[in-house]
Amino acid sequence: MLLHTLNSAPQSAATRDCCDLLTEQDTVILFGDGVYAGLEGSATSRTLRDSGAAIFALAPDVAAAGIGAKLAAGISIIDYPQFVAISAKYPGQMAWY
């Protein structure tokens, strides 16, 4: 049961390595360039969905990217208070950047 944060672009090694290690007990929070991993129809969003992990994306970065309407189903947009609330439930956080 692990919290992953991902703020690297979809083709990066960090994104690849993160996706490789996800389990369905995990949560992933996408921010910065990581939000692009959630683009509907992209290979990365399919990998994220298939992992069974809970996927969230930070609102300011989604807005900056202009992709609010283009996120894959099942990805929830959250704010920082929600980010903190999620972190309280997970002892460890693995930062992929």
Binding site: L2, A13, D17, L21, T23, P91, G92, M94, W96, Y97
Partner: protein
Amino acid sequence: MTESLKPGTLLVFRQPPYSNSLSRSGLDTALAAGAFEQPVTLLFLSDGILQLLPQQDSAGLGKRNHGKVLASLPLYDIETLWVDAGALSTCGYAIDDLPEGARLADRVLIRDMLAQHDHILAF
């Protein structure tokens, strides 16, 4: 022989040794943890395994020899350097080429390590 996972902090290294200052900062963090006798586990993932390659000679770059410092970690009671087996298999080196404390970690063990430590610092 399997080593039982320790509590405490997992330090994860994902960068090669010299071009990125993070590798040095992460190693200095490990040294500090050792000096203050706080339990840490070191895990080298992906390109981070390149920090462990033998025969590093950084004099020409004017930088501290990363491999030599890693090899000195047993002095700080950090005996084991966990190495991403999948990444190692793609770079042409074998576990026997790496420092004495290097141990292979497959994906299952890596996931376990990530899930079981109290804290994870990612360099």
